[in-house]
Symmetry: C2
C-alpha cells in the first residue's frame, strides 16, 4: 500500500475574496479520492476573518483575567468572544471554542498575517471545507475530500502537530470495531483518528515559516465517505472527557 | 515538496529472535534518508517481550485497584510493574511508564499476540530503534532513521493516532525557533512534533486488523539528525505538565 503527499506550488498570498478552489485546480492535477489538506489560516483570510485588537472593547471578565496574568485585555476579550469555556487561564490560555474544539487562544493566529491584524479560525470550518470541496469537484469532475487544518499542542508531550478543524467527505474516525486481529481475537483499539493523522502528515510538508505551503494533496488512501461528515464527530462529550474534568478540578481548586 | 509512504510487503509473523532489520532489507530497497517506521508489537515480539498473566502474582495494591473496578489483579500488577505513576484508575487505567511515556495500561497489547500471551512495549524503545537502524545501515550502506510506534488516545477527542515510542537518528521535535513568518514576524508556534506526525502518517498504512503491515517506509523528508536522539526529548517535565497536574487533582480529590 502506498500514499503520496505533495505540496500545491504557486499558491499566492491569500486575501479576502480569493477563490481557493480555483487556485488549487489551477496549480494541481486533481484525481479521484484525493484528500486536499488546507491550512486554516488561508481559509480564514479568504473569508475575511481577520481583525484588529484596537477594534475590540474589553469587558470586565477579560480585564480581570488580563490583570491577573499581565496580558492584553483586548486580546483576552477576542478569545472569550470565540469560546464556550476557559479551561485554563495561565500559563496557557486554553479554551473550548464555540465549535467545540479545545485549543490555545481560541485558535487566533498572530503569525502569517499583515502587521496589526490577527487571523481567526474559519467561523464554521466544516462549511468552509465543504465549499472548497464542492467547488473543486465542480471544476474537475473528480470526487475529493477536504481537511482544513490547524496546529495544536497535546497532553504530556511538547510540540505541536497538524490536526483537522474542518472536514468535507471524510469522517474523522475510522472504526475498526468488530474486526479481528492476526490471531482472530477481537481488536481492542478500535477507532483510528485518520483525519488528524492526515493533517499531521500534511503538516510535515507545509512548514511553519516563510517557506510555508498552505495546501497539500494526499493521494492513495481510500477514505472518502459516502455521507456528509463533520469534525465534531470526534469531539468528546463533556460527560466522558476526563482530561477536561481534571483541568476544571485544577482551575476551581 | 513531496513525501512517499509505502508498506514493506511480505513481513512474516514475527517471533522471538527474528531479525527485523534483515527482513526489512530483504523486502524493500532502502535509500538514504528513508525513515523506517516499525510497529512496537513486532519489535517487542522479536525481543521476546511477551508474557502470560498466569505467571504473575498480584500484590496488595494491584488487588485493591482491581477490586475497586472489577478488573483482573494479575493484569493490574503487570501494569504497575511497568509504571512510575498511576494517573487514573478508571474508566481508563492511565499510567506513566518507566520510560516516561504516558499511555493506557502501560502499553501492554492484548491483540495480535498468540492466545494467552500479552505483548509488552520494548523495554528501551530508543535502543530497539537504534539496533534495527544500525543493522539496516550495515546491510545497505544507506543512512536511515527509525521510529518505533504505538497507538495512543489523546485529550479532548476520541480516537487513537500512531505515535513514536522509540527513535534512531531523528529528533522528535523540529524547532522553528527564531524563524520568521511570511510577513517577517517572529513565529509563535515553534516546535513541530515531527516524529509523532510521521508515526501517524505511517499508521494510515499499517492498519490495525488482520491485514496489518507493521513496517512502513517514509521517503522524501530530510529529517535525519546529525547526533543521537531520544523519544524522551519530547516528554514534558513533571513540573510543566499541566494536564498531569489536572489528572492528579481529580485522582486525589
Amino acid at each position: 500500500m502506498k500514499m503520496e503527499a505533495f505540496t500545491v506550488e504557486n499558491v499566492p498570498l491569500i486575501k479576502e475574496g480569493d477563490d481557493i478552489a480555483s487556485i488549487i485546480c489551477d496549480n494541481a492535477e486533481i484525481k479521484d479520492y484525493d484528500i486536499i489538506v488546507i491550512a486554516s489560516t488561508i481559509v480564514a483570510k479568504s473569508e475575511g476573518r481577520v481583525f484588529r485588537l484596537e477594534d475590540i472593547e474589553a469587558g470586565e471578565k477579560a480585564k480581570e483575567i488580563a490583570s491577573r496574568h499581565d496580558l492584553d485585555p483586548e486580546f483576552i476579550q477576542a478569545v472569550l468572544d470565540r469560546s464556550n469555556e476557559v479551561l485554563m487561564e495561565f500559563p496557557i490560555l486554553l479554551v473550548e471554542t464555540k465549535n467545540g474544539h479545545v485549543c490555545i487562544k481560541a485558535g487566533i493566529d498572530e503569525s502569517n498575517v499583515e502587521g496589526g491584524y490577527l487571523a481567526d479560525l474559519p467561523e464554521d470550518p466544516d462549511s468552509s471545507a465543504e465549499n472548497i470541496g464542492k467547488a473543486v469537484e465542480m471544476n474537475t469532475s473528480k470526487k475529493v475530500s477536504v481537511i482544513v487544518t490547524d496546529t495544536n499542542g497535546r497532553a504530556f508531550k511538547i510540540g505541536q502537530t497538524g490536526i483537522a478543524v474542518g472536514l468535507y467527505m471524510i469522517h474523522p474516525i475510522l472504526n475498526w470495531v468488530g474486526k479481528k486481529d492476526l490471531f482472530g481475537n477481537e481488536l481492542e483499539i478500535t477507532q483510528e483518528a485518520v483525519a488528524d493523522e492526515i493533517a499531521g502528515a500534511a503538516n510535515l510538508l507545509m512548514g511553519e515559516g516563510d517557506g510555508g505551503c498552505p495546501v497539500v494533496i494526499i493521494r492513495g488512501l481510500k477514505l472518502r465517505s459516502e455521507d456528509s461528515t463533520s469534525v465534531k464527530e470526534m469531539y468528546r462529550t463533556d460527560r466522558e472527557d476526563l482530561i477536561k474534568k481534571g483541568l476544571r478540578c485544577l482551575r476551581d481548586s
